[in-house]
Subunit: 414 residues, 2 copies
C-alpha cells in the first residue's frame, strides 16, 4: 500500500476558525487513486512543530502533503521550517520572479517587495508553478519518500494537486496494492434499520469492509476492498454490492459521488421534466441546492422566496382564509403554494416549504422545528409534516434533505 | 497554558468522505475558554492506531477529546480501544440501559440487541449521559490528565460538550495563563494591501500575534495575546486594535463572530429597512445567506429565482429588448431586475444577480465566471461587473460575497 499523510499548517485551522476542507479534498483524491491515507495532522504556525510533525509523519508514510503557511505575511513560516528540515537556504528562483511579475502585470499591479519574497525558494526543492496565485508549490525528496508543500488557498492547492501532484502520485503508486471504495446511498431508512436489514456483514464481506455513515440526506453504506488489479477489486466489490442490493435495494438511490440532487437532476433531464420551488423558512436554500450542479437550467425553472404571509398571497395567490384558518405553517398552505408555483413557472413539479426554523417563533401546537413540505405535479399534490429540532441551521439543512427525498421518492416511484 | 488536543476517529474523515467540522467546533469552543489547542489528529477506525495516537497526544496535552467510533455497528471500535488503553473491561451500566429504553420508548421503538450493546461501558470511566442519542460520552483520568470520548454525530457531541465538558474544562483551567483572540473583519481591500497599510506588526504587537486570513467575504485580521487575567488580556488587545483601527479602520465592518450578513442585518433592523433579492446563477444562495440568521423575517421581504430569460420577463418585467440587445448577463438587465424586485416586494433595497457560474455557458466577450450584480434603493441603482474563475461552486460563493459587500458599502456609506 502506498501511504499518504496530510499535514495542515495554520493557527486558524488549529483554533477552529476555519474548517479544514483542504485535508478532506486531498484525502478524497488520493483515496480515489487507491492510496491509503494513513493520517491527518493539524498544527499551528510554529517552525519547530512543523519540522517535528513532518519527521513523525515520514516515519510511516511514503508521501507527505503539507498545506498552508506559504503566504507573504510574517505569520507564514512553512518555507522557513522546510529550509531547516532539509538544511537548506532560500534562493531567488528566477522563473518564479518572472511569472509573478507577469501575473501581477496582467492584474494591473506592480510587484511589491512583499510579493517578491515569494520568489525566494529553498535551493533543494523542485518548484511547482502555481498558476492561480503568488505562492508556488515545492517538492522535496528524502530516503525514497516525497514531501510536497502547497499553498492553503483551496483553489490554488486544488489546481496544483490536479495538474501535478495527483498524476505524480498515480505514477509512484503504480502496481502497488490498492484500496478501493464504493458507497451506496440510501434514503427513507435509518442507519440501525439498514444494519438489521443487511444482517451480519462478516457473512458476505470476505476480506472487505463495510461502514455505515449517517447524513441529513440519508444513511450511506461504504464498501471497501483491497487488491492489486482493477479486475480483482471490481469483482470483490460487485459480489458485496450484490448481496446488499438484494437485501436493501429499494432504499438505494445512487452511488459514490451521486447526491439526491444529482440523481434527481439526471432523472428530470432524461424525462424532459422541470421543477420550480416556493420557499419560506429555507429562504432559497432548496433552489440553491437544485442549481448547485452544472446544466441545472435545463430542469430548474425558477422559484419564489415568500418569506412573509403577504408575499404568499401576492406572489402565489395563497387564500387569505387558508392562512388565517390553518396558519402559514400548515399542509393546506404549502399545498396551495406548491400548485401555484408549478403554474407560475409552467413546471412539471413544484415543491413548497413552510416552517419555523427557530430558534424563535414556535408555539404549543407548532413547536420550533415544525416544517410542512408539499410536492405538486400535474394537478396532484401531497404534503408532509416534519418535526426537527431547535437548531436553525440544522433544521434548514434537514428540510432541504427531506424535500429532496420526497422528490426522489416521486421520481423513482414512477 | 492548559493544552488540549483533539483526536478524530473515523475512516470517513480519514479518506475525506466527510469534512471534519467537529474538530473545528471543539477547537473554537476551547479557544474561547482561553485554552491552547495544541494539535488535531485524524486516524481511521483501527484499535491499535487509536491507542498509539492517544498515548502520543497525552505526551504534550493536559486534556484529550476523542470523537467518533461509538456507534452500534461493527465498524465502531473506539470503546474497545479505550478498554485496551486503560486495561479495562466493558460492564453493563444500568442507568444508561434505563435511559436508552426510555429514549427509544418515547420514539415508539423497542430496545434492540444492537442498541443494548451501547449500555456496556468501560468500568473505570465516568459515564456522561448523551441526551440526544444512544452513544454515551465517557471520561477517564490518568496521571492528572483527562481523556474524554464523545460520539461523532455533531449535535450529540455539541450537546455533551456544552452541558458537561466545557464547564469542566473551564474549572480545570482556572487561574492558568490564557490565550485570547480578537478578529477584525474587513471588506473592500486585499490581504497584501491590508498588510502594507498596517505596516510592520512587530512595532505595535508587543508580545501579541497578528494573523492575516483571506476569505471570499473579505480579509480578516486576528489579534492574539496571552495573559492571566481578563483585565490584562483586554488591555493588550485594545492597544493593538487601536493601532490597526487608526490605520485601516474604514475597511473594518465587524469583529469576531460577525459576518457581512449579521452586520448588514443589524444595520437593516436598526433602521427599519428591508431587502428583497432577484437571483439567477446563484439560484437562491443569496436569499439563503440573508435568512441564515434568526429574526431575518424582520428585514428580508422575499425574492425570486429567475433562472430563465422567460422568467426574468414574466416575473420581473425585464424588457425583452434589454435581454436581446445586452443579454441576460449585463448591467442593463440586472439593474432592471433590482428595481423590479424592490417594487414587487415593497423593499427598501433590491439586489439582483445574473452571471455564468460555469463550467459551461461562457462566450468570448462574457467568459465563464462573468457576473453582474445590481443594488437598487429608492429609485437609485448601481451595478458592477465581476470576473471570477471557472469553478461553479466558488463562483457562486464569491458572487454572494460580492453582493453582500456591495450592500455593506451602501449601508455603511449612509
Amino acid at each position: 500500500m502506498f501511504k499518504i499523510s496530510v499535514l495542515t499548517v495554520g493557527d486558524e485551522i488549529c483554533i477552529g476558525q476555519v474548517v479544514n476542507t483542504n485535508a478532506a479534498w486531498i484525502a478524497t483524491e488520493c483515496t480515489q487513486l487507491g492510496c491509503r491515507v494513513a493520517a491527518h495532522s493539524i498544527i499551528g504556525d510554529e517552525k519547530q512543530e512543523i519540522t517535528e510533525e513532518l519527521k513523525r509523519l515520514l516515519g510511516f508514510s511514503d508521501f507527505v502533503i503539507i498545506t498552508g503557511g506559504l503566504g507573504p505575511t510574517h505569520d507564514d513560516v512553512t518555507k522557513d521550517a522546510l529550509c531547516e528540515f532539509f538544511d537548506d537556504t532560500l534562493v531567488l528562483h528566477e522563473p518564479t520572479l518572472h511569472f509573478l511579475t507577469n501575473l501581477l502585470l496582467r492584474r494591473g499591479l506592480a510587484l511589491s517587495e512583499r510579493n517578491k519574497t515569494q520568489a525566494f525558494l529553498p535551493s533543494k526543492c523542485r518548484v511547482i508553478t502555481n498558476f492561480r496565485g503568488t505562492a508556488p508549490g515545492m517538492m522535496f525528496e528524502r530516503d525514497g519518500k516525497t514531501i510536497i508543500s502547497l499553498p492553503g488557498v483551496p483553489a490554488e492547492m486544488q489546481g496544483i494537486m490536479t495538474e501535478f501532484v495527483l498524476p505524480y502520485i498515480a505514477e509512484l503508486s503504480r502496481g502497488k496494492e490498492c484500496v478501493s471504495y464504493r458507497t451506496l446511498l440510501t434514503t427513507g431508512i435509518t442507519e440501525a434499520n439498514l444494519a438489521d436489514l443487511i444482517g451480519e456483514p462478516a457473512e458476505f464481506l470476505e476480506s472487505g469492509t463495510l461502514a455505515f455513515l449517517p447524513s441529513y440526506q440519508g444513511a450511506r453504506l461504504r464498501i471497501g476492498v483491497r487488491g492489486t488489479s482493477a479486475e480483482e477489486i471490481d469483482a470483490k466489490i460487485a459480489r458485496i454490492e450484490e448481496v446488499i442490493r438484494n437485501r436493501a435495494g429499494k432504499f438505494i438511490f445512487g452511488t459514490d459521488d451521486d447526491s439526491l440532487v444529482s440523481v434527481a437532476a439526471r432523472l428530470l433531464v432524461e424525462r424532459g421534466e422541470t421543477i420550480a420551488v416556493a420557499e419560506s423558512c429555507t429562504g432559497g436554500l432548496l433552489g440553491a441546492a437544485l442549481t448547485d450542479i452544472a446544466g441545472s437550467s435545463s430542469y430548474f425553472q425558477g422559484g419564489v422566496i415568500t418569506y412573509s404571509n403577504n408575499s404568499k398571497e401576492s406572489e402565489l395567490g395563497v387564500n387569505r382564509e387558508t392562512l388565517v384558518k390553518f396558519g402559514a405553517v400548515s399542509g393546506e398552505t404549502v399545498e396551495e403554494m406548491a400548485i401555484a408555483v408549478c403554474l407560475k413557472f409552467k413546471a412539471v413539479y413544484g415543491i413548497a416549504i413552510s416552517g419555523t426554523a427557530g430558534p424563535g417563533g414556535g408555539s404549543a401546537d407548532k413547536p420550533v422545528g415544525t416544517v410542512w413540505i408539499a410536492l405538486a405535479s400535474s394537478g396532484d399534490v401531497i404534503s408532509r409534516k416534519f418535526i426537527f429540532g431547535s437548531d436553525r441551521r440544522i433544521n434548514r439543512e434537514r428540510t432541504v434533505g427531506a424535500a429532496l427525498a420526497m422528490l426522489m421518492e416521486k421520481l423513482r416511484g414512477k
